[in-house]
Amino acid sequence: MKCVIFLICALLANFVYSETVVADELEDAKLLIAKNVLNNYIVEGLNLTIKYTIHNIGSSPALNVKLQDENFPAEYFEYASGFNVAQWGRIPPKSNVDHVVVVSPKLPGMFNLTSAVVTYLPSEKASKVQTGYSTELGEVYIQKLSDYNRRYASQTINWILFIIIASPSILIPYFLWNSSKSKYQKSKKLKKSN
């Protein structure tokens, strides 16, 4: 019996403690970071749009927020727009900010999209820098541009070429038939006039 009472007391104490911890934690800023790809397909040489959304779910503003994504090295990607290091002086509580970057993959193949790192001060009193990681997307396949074009690009030029190639087989018999027809009609007219 004593053991059961002790266990219940311990559980209650633990519950109260964890509630206090959660309340304390949320008094400071707490950032949740989502990294999303805004593409249906990732293709070599075409734009890959990445969107970072940072939510501050805490009750204090996050200060000196720095987002850094080293996932797109210069030998594999080219930055078309946006920057790989983004900073905000302050992100107010219960608010979110967006940051969009556009990169262009230089090579086809499998590529691991890892998480971005965010560092911030959780409150004005805080001296220790907090580090957070964004969601990661894992391995993605970067298609070859020629494969993508074969499947999805407009085939207008190919069809025009097809018409040019197919036209002799239609036009040559037509002109032969047309010339013999006109000759036949001429001889028919001559016969009638005689």
Partner: protein, 167 residues
């Protein structure tokens, strides 16, 4: 005494660092995504440089679109800023999109004006006009369809000529 003076100086530096005096916005670049086959959402990016008289860096600027505000992010140097957002392709704005850029002071004044309804004194730092022609969804008539129609007409002509001769 020295520590108090030092503290006041520190505070002044901190507060000065947060404000950009007489901001001048230059080198504005805009970008939008236009391929609807490739993208899930349309992304809009505005990049600009801000020159402050007090050389302040990494200060917040706010972009206003239809009464909604977006906070800018700064690059590693703290001199180049970006205001970016995305919208689902079906709901994405197209044509000329005007984004008014405000500094902290202007943003505060705009929020006050939203409550009072008096926008007469509101002045933005700069207005960026973004042009998005709408996402390209491919040609309205597929080339395959045109080619089929063309060869259908040829076949019809040939067939009707054969029938004429045989009759």
């Amino acid at each position: 005494m020295i520590s108090i003076i030092f503290g006041i100086l520190l505070l002044a530096t901190f507060s000065l660092g947060q404000q950009c005096n007489q901001a001048k916005i230059i080198n504005v670049r805009t970008w939008t995504s236009e391929n609807s086959k490739l993208n899930i959402e349309t992304a809009y990016i505005i990049q600009f440089k801000a020159q402050c008289q007090n050389n302040a860096r990494n200060v917040p600027f706010y972009g206003e679109i239809d009464g909604k505000f977006l906070v800018s992010s700064a690059d590693a140097t703290g001199e180049t800023y970006e205001i970016s957002w995305s919208e689902p392709i079906k709901k994405a704005r197209s044509g000329e999109i005007k984004v008014r850029i405000f500094d902290e002071e202007g943003y505060g004044a705009f929020r006050k004006a939203q409550r009072s309804g008096d926008f007469s004194k509101i002045k933005e730092l700069h207005t960026v006009t973004l042009y998005h022609q709408g996402s390209y969804k491919g040609p309205s008539i597929q080339i395959e369809f045109l080619v089929t129609i063309l060869f259908g007409v040829i076949f019809y002509f040939a067939k009707s000529s054969i029938n004429k001769i045989q009759n």
